[in-house]
């Protein structure tokens, strides 16, 4: 299974990343940025599908909240009514999940490629050689120059700058997609998620090699751009709650 994963997904991406480094004058940082952009562009159809499904679900929130108020005490009835609502609207509640899950193997491969290519220890360099093609464009880039801007891509960024960029861009992205809600439980959960995820990734940035954090930052920025093109600024800066019909 591991061999199949390496053969089909990991090795092509890893060698592509190193070949890109060679093409981009030996800059591994630029190669990470370029490959992240390429992968995100390839995944645009899936991302759009996911965004549209999310948007459709969010558009139904007022009706869902209405149902929650109406049948809040009878969970079985609530579920039945919600499924009926989804069916009538032609929306699959899992529609935003599947495109996301399909993208995961690609993200994991990209993530593994960056970690492997950095090869900071003798063991990881030996392991890298097992995955490399005999292309001259690949061997020419070795060993990779881990310096990019102020960063040493093989070690965590100690300046906090990258952590702020990663955390900030993730917060913006989350804020754009999370719809305000009147449900106190949901509201509290949304607030927690909006803060927890950026904080968590900012924390990871301080612990993981900055090459990986660079990938997160670029990926977030591209995510924001795609989100903007689909939904505009979405819910960013919109504090008002959605207007609900006050029915009993």
């Amino acid at each position: 299974m591991a061999d199949l994963w390496s053969l089909i997904i990991l090795n092509p991406m890893l060698n592509g990343l190193i070949a890109l480094t060679s093409v981009l004058d030996g800059s591994f940082g630029l190669a990470i940025i370029a490959l992240t952009i390429i992968v995100r562009l390839i995944l645009v159809p899936l991302t759009l599908k996911q965004l549209k499904a999310t948007k459709a679900l969010q558009g139904m929130q007022p009706k869902i909240q209405e149902l929650q108020k109406k049948h809040g005490k009878n969970q079985q009835k609530l579920q039945q009514e919600m499924m009926k609502l989804y069916k009538e609207a032609g929306v699959n509640p899992l529609g935003c999940l599947w495109p996301m899950l399909v993208q995961f193997p690609v993200w994991i491969a990209l993530y593994q490629s960056i970690m492997r290519a950095l090869a900071t220890t003798p063991e990881s360099l030996l392991d890298l050689f097992r995955h490399l093609y005999s292309w001259e464009v690949v061997t020419r880039a070795l060993p990779l120059d881990s310096h990019f801007l102020w960063l040493n891509l093989g070690v965590p960024d100690g300046t906090m700058i990258l952590a702020i960029i990663v955390g900030g861009s993730m917060w913006v992205q989350q804020k754009m997609v999370t719809a305000p809600t009147v449900d106190p439980r949901q509201k509290s959960m949304n607030s927690m998620m909006q803060l927890m995820m950026p904080f968590m990734f900012a924390f990871f940035t301080l612990m993981f090699p900055s090459g990986l954090a660079l990938f997160w930052a670029v990926s977030n920025v591209i995510g924001i751009v795609i989100q903007y093109l689909v939904t505009g600024w979405g819910y960013l800066g919109r504090g008002a709650l959605p207007k609900l019909p006050l029915t009993r």
């Binding site: 995961f104 994991i108 220890t121 392991d127 998620m193 995820m197 990871f204």
Partner: protein, 379 residues
């Protein structure tokens, strides 16, 4: 529903991050050296261990006569809520013995000297802080221990007191090689495709050579009859004439040449990560023969009389005739069942091999059997 989905996605992200992405921690693959019947090796849990080969073959209680253990640790921050913690260091180099001292460099950037009689630490360098990570082995020349560091410098320290005799200028972003001593010169290969000759007296650069491609050298150099033999990341074994800018020949392998080549009787034996050992004519770079071990060769080969010993990443050890051809080449084949990456040494017919299971194996290469093994995870 949405909350559950979000939770699922967050958990999946975290799982992916840790399950698939964590970098491999350095564990080390220190080689073995031998002096006066005692074997010295760095273990995978950061210890320098002296073993009496005779006592181990008799399975006497450890530590027996001449045996000791010294645990080298480094202090690191233990996380958000923990104080500093001591963790074992990784050791890659092969210890070097000189007089009554044994020397080793560690991956956390320290050089140590121990008394061979009792394992007491004689000195460490630097006293405060660290230099760059040390991957190569120390070598001794004129009462000076020399080694390369990942900060790109070569350090020369007084063997008795551990004081700095000289440091070279920064030769490269990082140096993982073991210097080769020839006369009063140290020959160094670098990750950015350079070869240097340094004066053993003061570390000044007396000669440098850059490959046309600037593709780095990954193996340590060997000098024989005025020619440097060194393996490269470009999948070639290079032969460069010393003190000239002339590449005599290049020999192409199927992958990089990580192991330091061995030169004997005008033949270069080079283990390759493609799993083959190549015997190459030192004069013109033509292949004399090759043997496919089927697994990457990381450890340098060794000659015992006229037998060539190679060990590979799959744990197989092959005893090969250097002269024979075809199917006659294999004399013996042994397996220790675990990866072999560390340099090994021999005494008579016995070869001492350290596996990545942190165990040392004594193999009789002529009889083709394991005589004893000893786990290096000691209390």
């Amino acid at each position: 529903m949405k909350t559950n989905l979000t939770k699922f996605v967050v958990l999946f992200c975290l799982f992916s991050l840790f399950a698939f992405g964590c970098a491999e921690a350095p564990t080390g693959f220190s080689g073995i050296t031998r002096g006066d019947g005692i074997l010295y090796v760095g273990s995978m849990d950061g210890k320098i261990i002296a073993m009496n080969a005779s006592a181990r073959s008799q399975q006497l209680h450890f530590p027996a006569d001449g045996e000791w253990v010294y645990a080298i640790t480094t202090t690191s921050q233990g996380g958000l809520s923990c104080g500093p913690v001591s963790t074992p260091v990784a050791i890659y180099g092969t210890p070097a013995v000189d007089g009554n001292l044994v020397f080793i460099g560690t991956y956390n950037g320290k050089v140590y000297a121990f008394n061979i009689a009792n394992g007491a630490m004689r000195w460490d360098y630097p006293k405060e802080g660290y230099i760059g990570a040390i991957v190569g082995s120390p070598v001794i020349v004129n009462d000076t221990v020399c080694l390369c560091s990942s900060d790109g410098r070569v350090y020369a320290l007084d063997t008795t007191y551990g004081e700095s005799n000289w440091n070279s200028t920064v030769l490269c972003d990082k140096l993982w090689a073991t210097p080769y001593i020839e006369g009063d010169k140290l020959y160094i290969s670098t990750f950015d495709g350079h070869l240097y000759a340094l004066s053993a007296d003061d570390g000044s650069i007396t000669w440098s050579f850059a490959t046309e491609s600037k593709i780095g050298f990954v193996s340590s150099p060997v000098v024989s009859n005025g020619v440097i033999f060194v393996g490269s990341l470009d999948r070639n074994l290079h032969a460069v004439k010393v003190e000239s800018n002339e590449t005599l020949w290049k020999f192409a392998g199927g992958n990089c040449f990580w192991a330091t080549p061995l030169v004997s009787n005008n033949v270069v034996y080079a283990g390759c990560l493609d799993g083959k050992i190549y015997a190459v004519d030192a004069g013109d770079g033509t292949q004399l023969w090759s043997f496919d071990a089927g697994s990457p060769i990381v450890a340098s080969p060794l000659l015992v009389d006229d037998l060539l010993i190679i060990a590979c990443d799959s744990g197989e050890v092959y005893v090969l005739k250097t002269e024979a051809t075809g199917g006659d080449r294999i004399v013996n084949q042994l397996s220790i069942g675990t990866s072999i990456r560390a340099s090994f040494c021999a005494s008579g017919d016995v070869v001492y091999v350290r596996g990545q299971d942190n165990c040392l194996y004594a193999l009789d290469v002529k009889q083709g059997k394991e005589t004893w093994n000893f786990t290096l995870t000691t209390e």
